[in-house]
Amino acid sequence: MRYSALQVLKEGLTGNKGWRPVWREPEPKKQYDVIIVGGGGHGLATAHYLAKEHGITNVAVLEKGWIGSGNIGRNTTIIRSNYLLPGNEPFYELSMKLWEGLEQDFNYNAMVSQRGIVNLYHSDAQRDAYARRGNSMLLAGADSVLLDEQGVRKLCPFLDYDNARFPIKGGLWQPRAGTVRHDAVAWGYARGADSRGVDILQNCEVTGFTLENGRCVGVDTTRGKIGARKVAVCVAGSSSRVMAMAGMRLPIESHVLQAFVSEGLKPTLPGVITFGAGHFYISQSDKGGLVFGGDIDGYNSYAQRGNLPVVEDVCEGGMAVMPMIGRARLLRMWGGIMDMSMDGSPYIDKTSIPGLYFNGGWCYGGFKATPASGWCYAHLIATDRPHDTATAYRLDRFRSGAVLDERGAGAQPNLH
């Protein structure tokens, strides 16, 4: 069923009786062309583009719980393509362009809201590093503006300019960045994939991989054995656990990232703002809540909750940069499990096992990458060649030394 204002009106007047499920609840088939393990944003996007761009529709998405129950349903909804390295920037810019056409593509309003992101800088060295980054973005065809203090004042007059421990000297601004209603992205891709024949199987947990003379030909699940020509894993947060079933160790640690939302407030923030002298970034949702976060807790964890020191650190950053939010109340704090990679950049690659593909290591940057991740993963699965913008996301790059270390922090996941 096509969604439109007219449809909403018509249904509204007839008691909303006609709305049908956004996705079917089919029984698993015996065999698929492609099985995607993981019904999160990336997995559903991959299925959508496999069907839509590559005509591969005999596809199943296996989700151990309810779709969108991973980090797509638990993040701070920011989209941006303000990366430094040539191995990263074109990929995230592809993602940005896909965001811009997304709602018309899958006929679902995910509230893509391009209200911009400002990364504040507080020193000349930070300014120089941002200038290098901004130029990389422009060279890759993205948008970027280097603001001085006056420029930032115009955009965000409510920041602390006059009593700051680390004065705001300017910012790197990407006007096309913004936020998206995160759950709707999962639902929209599910709708897009389902409508093209993809089976979305909820409460279907993978318990093992079926290997035949060295090739992956299917999976064991809590809903029985399912065969496939290709199996594509896409379970950021659980990557190590799942790939261990295939006997693989990954350059990944699981860490908890906390995020926070305030009570609903009338509009007060223009876009996304990140503090350059502490761990704090913030935006405001359409419902009015201030959505903010900071650094990961910093220790390996699979428990989806964090501890107080990080909560305090984040709010200290918030009060340092915008003391007007002091009397807003923190309503809810939660923790999501991140695939923290060894250089802060993700993996989209074949594995050493033919027929088995891997997508993960998104650190805390997976949400903004959802469309491009699905696009490039679908491309890799369909053609067995990496997409042009994702050639650097090799699993073995640490053996060769071709690392993608945006922060220059080295092989320590909790520093990225």
């Binding site: 160790r249 060894m342 909790n414």
Partner: protein, 92 residues
Amino acid sequence: MIIHHPLLGPRDAAEFVYLGDASLLNRPDPAAPSAAEDFYTYLHLRDNTAGEHRELWYHEQGDRSWLVLTRNTLTHEITRVELARDVAGQAS
């Protein structure tokens, strides 16, 4: 979290800095013919256990000792705390 320091008793984890898997204690032999592969594995590949995890913490705001914690990554329960110096000593 509270870490029961073997020498100092209970201390808030906020006093500590986390490094990672305790396997980082086992630095490979740089002279071995397989050194390149060994170091790549040592520094980058992780079991990333969901459950009991042996890991390195540094008491930066305390006695500056490196500790090896045995901590459950599903529950955060800490069942063992040792001085890394002792563990490393045994290893070597």
